[in-house]
C-alpha cells in the first residue's frame, strides 16, 4: 500500500477508536453531574450511590479517550505534516485553545473529583464534576471548530502562491455556520450515547430484579435526558443535512447514490450500485423525499454525482476525480440514521413505562434491551465515516487534496509499522476496557457499596 492509503488507515483507525470513548465521556459527565447535584440538594444517599456507580464506569471509559487524544493531536504532525504546514495557521489555533481551555479543565478537575470525596465540601465536590463536564464539551466545541474548517473553509486567505492558508478573520472560523450544526449534533449524540448506556445497564438489572430502586431512578433520569437529546440530534441532523446540500453537495449525492441532478429528487430506499461504472444495478427510490429532506418541500434541485464531477472539473481542474467512496457514504448514512431512529423509539418506550410508573415486562423482547448499548456506537462511528469519507478526495474542501497532505519525509514502511502496533495495542486495550466495564456494570451498586462500608468500618475501629 502507498503512503497516502496507509496514513489514511491510521488516521481512520485512531479516529474511530478515539470516538468510541469520547461520546460517552461527553454525555456521562453531564449525567453524573446531574446525579451528584440531586444528591447535594436532597441528601438522598441513593443519588450518591448513583454518582459513584456511574462515575466509576465513566472513569473506566474516560482514560481511553484521553490517551488516544494525544495520538490524535500528534498524528497531524507525524503523518500529515504537509497538511499541518498548509493550514497550521488556522487549524492549530483551535487545537491549542482546546488544550488550554478544555483539556486542562477536565483533567485537573477530574483528578480532584476522583480523589476529593473526603477532602472537599459536598457542593464544591459537585462543582468539580460540572467543570469536568464543561471541559469535555468545550473540547468538543473547539475540535469541531477545527474540523469545520476542513468541511467548509472560511475566514482564511491563501498566501505564498497558494502554498499556505493563513488566518484572515477568526470570527468567521469560530462562527462558521458548519460549527453550529456539527457541534450540537455531536454533543447531543454524546448525550444520547450516555443515556442509552445508562438505560441498557439499568434494564439489565431491572429485568433481574436487582437494586430495583437504584436502577429505576437511573432510568428516570436517563430516559428524560435521553429523549430530549435524541430529539435534538434528529432535528439538528436534519438541518445539518440541509446545510450539507448547500456546502458539500457531493457528500449528499454520495450518501444518496444520486447519480444525476434531479428536481424533484428521490430518496433511495435501497440501492445496489456499481461504483466503478457509476450506475445503479438495482434501486428502489421514493420520489420527492430527498428534495423534502433538502428543502422541506417536495420539489427542489438536488445535484447528482456525475453532474457535480463535471462542475468540479471546471472549477478545480480536469482529469481528477472529485467523487468520494460512494458505497461507504451511502451505507454509513443509513446506519447512522437507522440506529438513531431505533434509539429514539427505544428511549420513548422506556420513558412511557417511567411515566406510567409501570415495571418492564420480562419477555424475549425486553431481554434484548441491554444490547441497545451497541446502537450509539454504530451511529457515532457511521456519522464520522460519512463526514470524513464523504468529503474525499479533499482534506480541506476545495483547498487541499488528501494525497497532497501526507508527510514528505515519512516512508510507507514506517507508517505500516506504527499502524500495526497501534492497531494491536488498541485491540488489547479495548478488550481490557470492555472487560472492566462489563464487570462493574454487572456487579451493580451493591458490590461498590460493600467495599465502601468495609473500608468505613475499618476506619471506625482504628
Amino acid at each position: 500500500m502507498d503512503l497516502v492509503t496507509l496514513s489514511r488507515w491510521q488516521f481512520a483507525i485512531t479516529c474511530v477508536y478515539h470516538f468510541f470513548f469520547v461520546p460517552l465521556t461527553l454525555g456521562l459527565s453531564v449525567l453524573v453531574a446531574i446525579m451528584e447535584s440531586i444528591y447535594v440538594r436532597t441528601g438522598n444517599m441513593v443519588y450518591k450511590q448513583m454518582t459513584q456507580f456511574w462515575g466509576k464506569l465513566f472513569l473506566i471509559n474516560f482514560g481511553m479517550g484521553v490517551v488516544t487524544g494525544i495520538v490524535m493531536e500528534f498524528q497531524f504532525g507525524m503523518n500529515w505534516s504537509e497538511y499541518s504546514r498548509f493550514v497550521g495557521d488556522i487549524f492549530g489555533a483551535p487545537l491549542a485553545i482546546e488544550a488550554l481551555l478544555a483539556f486542562f479543565l477536565e483533567s485537573t478537575f477530574l483528578g480532584i473529583w476522583i480523589f476529593g470525596w473526603e477532602k472537599l465540601s459536598k457542593k464544591v465536590h459537585a462543582l468539580t464534576i460540572w467543570l469536568v463536564a464543561i471541559g469535555s464539551n468545550l473540547s468538543a466545541l473547539w475540535i469541531l471548530i477545527a474540523n469545520s474548517f476542513m468541511q467548509q473553509p472560511l475566514g482564511y486567505k491563501l498566501v505564498e502562491g497558494g502554498s499556505r492558508a493563513i488566518l484572515e478573520d477568526f470570527s468567521q472560523v469560530v462562527f462558521n455556520p458548519n460549527v453550529w450544526y456539527q457541534f450540537p449534533h455531536v454533543v447531543f449524540s454524546g448525550f444520547t450515547t450516555a443515556a442509552i448506556f445508562v438505560l441498557g445497564i439499568s434494564t439489565y438489572h431491572l429485568l433481574r430484579k436487582k437494586s430495583v430502586d437504584f436502577f429505576r431512578k437511573s432510568v428516570q433520569i436517563a430516559s428524560v435526558f435521553g429523549i430530549v437529546a435524541t430529539l435534538l440530534v434528529v432535528l439538528v441532523g436534519h438541518s445539518q443535512a440541509q446545510h450539507m446540500v448547500k456546502t458539500q453537495p457531493m457528500k449528499m449525492a454520495a450518501a444518496e447514490a444520486l447519480w444525476r441532478t434531479a428536481d424533484p429528487a428521490s430518496f433511495s430506499l435501497l440501492t445496489i450500485g456499481n461504483e466503478s461504472e457509476l450506475r445503479d444495478v438495482f434501486a428502489i427510490r421514493i420520489p420527492g423525499v430527498l428534495s423534502f429532506l433538502a428543502y422541506n418541500r417536495f420539489s427542489g434541485e438536488v445535484k447528482g454525482i456525475l453532474d457535480l464531477q463535471a462542475e468540479y472539473e471546471q472549477t478545480y481542474g480536469e482529469g481528477l476525480s472529485y467523487i468520494p467512496p460512494i458505497a461507504v457514504s451511502y451505507w454509513s448514512f443509513r446506519v447512522m440514521v437507522g440506529a438513531g431512529m431505533l434509539m429514539l423509539l427505544l428511549i420513548a418506550i422506556l420513558l412511557f413505562y417511567v411515566l406510567k410508573k409501570k415495571d418492564l415486562p420480562r419477555n424475549r423482547w425486553t431481554m434484548l434491551l441491554p444490547f441497545m448499548i451497541a446502537l450509539p456506537y454504530f451511529a457515532n462511528t457511521a456519522g464520522w465515516m460519512l463526514t470524513e469519507l464523504g468529503r474525499q478526495p479533499w482534506v480541506v474542501f476545495g483547498l487541499m487534496r488528501t494525497e497532497d497532505a501526507v508527510s514528505a519525509v515519512v516512508q510507507p514502511g514506517m507508517v505500516l509499522t506504527t499502524l500495526i502496533i497501534f492497531t494491536l495495542l488498541y485491540g488489547l486495550l479495548m478488550a481490557a476496557d470492555i472487560y472492566l466495564l462489563v464487570k462493574y456494570a454487572k456487579a451493580g451498586p451493591q458490590e461498590l457499596q460493600k467495599r465502601t462500608v468495609l473500608v468505613e468500618e475499618e476506619k471506625y475501629y482504628e
Binding site: 497550521g88 492549530g92 491549542a96 485553545i97 488550554l100 486542562f104 476529593g116 488566518l167 473500608v455
Partner: protein, 341 residues
C-alpha cells in the same frame, strides 16, 4: 519584542511547565517497582500522583498545540522527522495512562502486576526519550533546503543525545524520589529519602558530563561564551543545593530546588536555541527559526491574547489542586480508600 519572540518564550514556558510537573510523576512511575514492594505500597505510590498526572500531561498537549498554532513549520518538520521517537513516546503514554486507570480495578495479582509494569515502562521511555529529543534540538539534526528533516531514526541516537537522555532519566527519577519523600510516611518515606540521596550524586555527575560534552558537540561556546551566564550556573547551583536539603531531610526545599533546576535547564536549552527552533546540523542556512516557520501575525496576536488570559487561570486552579492534596498519604484506611476508586 515582536510576537514571534513572545511565542518562542511561551512555548519554552509550556515545555518547562510540562517537565517541571510531569517530570516528577514520570519519576514516580519509574520508582514504582523499586519502592513498591507490596500492593499497598504500590497503591500509595500511585496515589501520590493520582490526582495530578493527567493535568500535568496536558502541558505536553498544550505545548504541542501551541507549536502547531504558532510555528506550523516547526511542528510539521519536527513531528514528521522525529517519527519513531514520538511514536514510542505515544505508546508509552498510552500504556502509562491506562495503567493508572485500570490497575486497581481488579483484584487479580497478575492483572495488577501487568499494569504496574506498563506504568513503569510507560514512564521510563518518555523520561529517557525527552532528553534524547532536546539534546538533538541543541546539537542540530540534518535538515534539507526545503526545511524538512533529512536524517533517519539512528541519527537521533548519537552519543551526545543519549547522554541527554540519561540526564532526563536520572534527573526525573531523583525528582520523583523527592516528590515521594514529600508525600508519604513511614517505611515508604525512609525508602524514598534513601533513594533520593543515592540518585543525587548520579544526577550531578551525569549533568556535569552532559555540560562538558555540550562544549564539544554543540555551538554552545559560540552562543553563551566561556562564562555561560546566570541561568546555566543557576541550574547547577540549584541541583547542588538540593543535595544538601535531601541530606538534611528538608523535602519541601529539596523539591523546590529540583523544580528550579528543571526550569533553569529548560531555560538554558531555549536560550541556546534562540532564535532557532530546530538547528540544521552543519548548515545554518537551513535552520528553522522563529521567523521562517511561524504563523501569520493575525494568528500570533490572537493566540497571545488567549494565552495571556488562560495560562494564569490554569496555573491558579492547578495550584489549587496541589493545595487540596497537600497532605502526606499514609497507610491508614481512609487514605487507602481513595485508591479503590
Amino acid at each position: 519584542m515582536d510576537l514571534n519572540i513572545v511565542w518562542f518564550v511561551l512555548i519554552a514556558v509550556l515545555w518547562t511547565g510540562y517537565f517541571a510537573l510531569d517530570g516528577f510523576d514520570l519519576g514516580v512511575g519509574i520508582l514504582l517497582p523499586f519502592l513498591g514492594k507490596d500492593d499497598t505500597k504500590r497503591r500509595i505510590i500511585l496515589n501520590t500522583i493520582g490526582p495530578h498526572w493527567d493535568g500535568n500531561e496536558v502541558w505536553l498537549l498544550t505545548a504541542g498545540g501551541a507549536t502547531f498554532a504558532a510555528f506550523p513549520g516547526w511542528y510539521a518538520t519536527l513531528f514528521s522527522g522525529f517519527y519513531f521517537p514520538l511514536f514510542l513516546i505515544l505508546i508509552a503514554l498510552i500504556l502509562r495512562g491506562i495503567a493508572f486507570e485500570f490497575r486497581s480495578k481488579d483484584e487479580n495479582p497478575h492483572w495488577r502486576s501487568l499494569w504496574d509494569w506498563c506504568a513503569f515502562v510507560g514512564s521510563l521511555i518518555p523520561a529517557l526519550l525527552w532528553g534524547v529529543a532536546f539534546a538533538n534540538f541543541v546539537r542540530g539534526v540534518p535538515i534539507s533546503a526545503d526545511l524538512q528533516y533529512a536524517g533517519g531514526f539512528w541519527n537521533l541516537l548519537n552519543p551526545f543525545a543519549l547522554l541527554g537522555g540519561l540526564v532526563s532519566l536520572t534527573g526525573f527519577t531523583l525528582y520523583g524520589a523527592v516528590f515521594l519523600s514529600l508525600k508519604t510516611t513511614g517505611d515508604l518515606l525512609e525508602k524514598a529519602r534513601k533513594t533520593a540521596w543515592r540518585m543525587w550524586p548520579v544526577v550531578v555527575m551525569v549533568l556535569i558530563a552532559y555540560t562538558v560534552a555540550s562544549y564539544f558537540a554543540t555551538d554552545v561556546l559560540a552562543i553563551l561564551g566561556i562564562n555561560p551566564g546566570v541561568v546555566p550556573i543557576g541550574a547547577v547551583l540549584a541541583l547542588l543545593a538540593s543535595g544538601w536539603f535531601i541530606r538534611n531531610r528538608r523535602e519541601g526545599w529539596a523539591f523546590t530546588l529540583l523544580a528550579l533546576t528543571v526550569i533553569f535547564v529548560m531555560a538554558t536549552i531555549f536560550i541556546e536555541l534562540f532564535p532557532n527552533v530546530l538547528v540544521s546540523l552543519g548548515n545554518p542556512a537551513n535552520n528553522l527559526t522563529i521567523y521562517n516557520v511561524s504563523s501569520s501575525p493575525t494568528t500570533l496576536r490572537l493566540m497571545t491574547i488567549i494565552a495571556a488570559i488562560f495560562v494564569p487561570v490554569v496555573l491558579a486552579y492547578q495550584g489549587w489542586s496541589y493545595w487540596v492534596f497537600r497532605k502526606r498519604i499514609s497507610e491508614k484506611p481512609e487514605d487507602i480508600q481513595a485508591l479503590k476508586y
